[in-house]
Symmetry: D2
Subunit: 91 residues, 4 copies
């Protein structure tokens, strides 16, 4: 179970489908010998789109699961887990 | 035209197909209400895999196009372009 | 007021004093015409050290202020604020 | 020896002195128990300022040393070195 509401879920799925299409587009660019800088620009765009997806999930998680766990006096473990994820996110 | 050699091209396409599959996997995780932290871990993994793809293309570009342009005394413009891409890459 | 405990505060101050010294060291490297790549390696090291400082403050903040606010039913605003900081941190 | 011109050198030193002051400012914020989010905002600002410094040094290095080495048919090694620095920079 997670705490992503239905509207956000739909938004996330739309974004991920677009990202999937962009990744396929990069494959085509490589097969068609497109200019490296144009390929790189697309890679950067997809990474940015994925960051947005990650931040949206993080937001839902913190407002939802984390907040709930803290209210149930089980905050320590879930905050430690959040910090680990966040640290990886910044790499 | 770019300067990616055939072996690297094959490697890049394999990586991008795997990334495409991972992006589809994340969609499934969201549809199946998987735990946010597990979703986030996957998002971080895909961003890392895309970074590797980007660095590989950058490497080919610099060893290839950039080096060639510099030898033809047309280095300034292509280096400026490289710096712009690199700067975006670090965001 | 913040929620950084005394031991972490001491650790953070030690790290920041070391970072301050490293920044002065980079100035000296530039004045002494050191090799760019060695300068860049130092810049990367200092950025990494600052990331660690940031993650430590974030950890204290989340375990402290954020947890407390949530228990006092004032979680929404502080979590929004946390997300903004998170997002800037990943740029 | 590096290839940073005098004007850029002066600019870099000014930036680094400002960064040094900001790092001292963060120490003061911690000693004075300032709010964590304000401390984090400052940490993020200093990391951004250091990124700018790094990108400026990288620019000088690529336009200078790298370009020169390539013209002297010694490009391969210096490009490999550049890619390693690039890669660390994106972490």
């Amino acid at each position: 179970m997670n705490s992503i509401n239905d509207e956000t879920k739909k938004d996330l799925l739309n974004r991920l489908r677009r990202i999937e299409g962009q990744v396929r587009g990069i494959q085509k660019m490589i097969e068609q010998d497109k200019y490296c800088v144009d390929i790189l620009t697309q890679v950067v765009a997809v990474r940015g789109a994925l960051k947005k997806v990650g931040l949206m999930v993080l937001d839902e998680h913190t407002h939802g699961c984390v907040q709930r766990a803290i209210k149930d006096d089980e905050g320590e473990k879930i905050i430690d887990e959040l910090m680990v994820v966040f640290s990886k996110f910044t790499d």
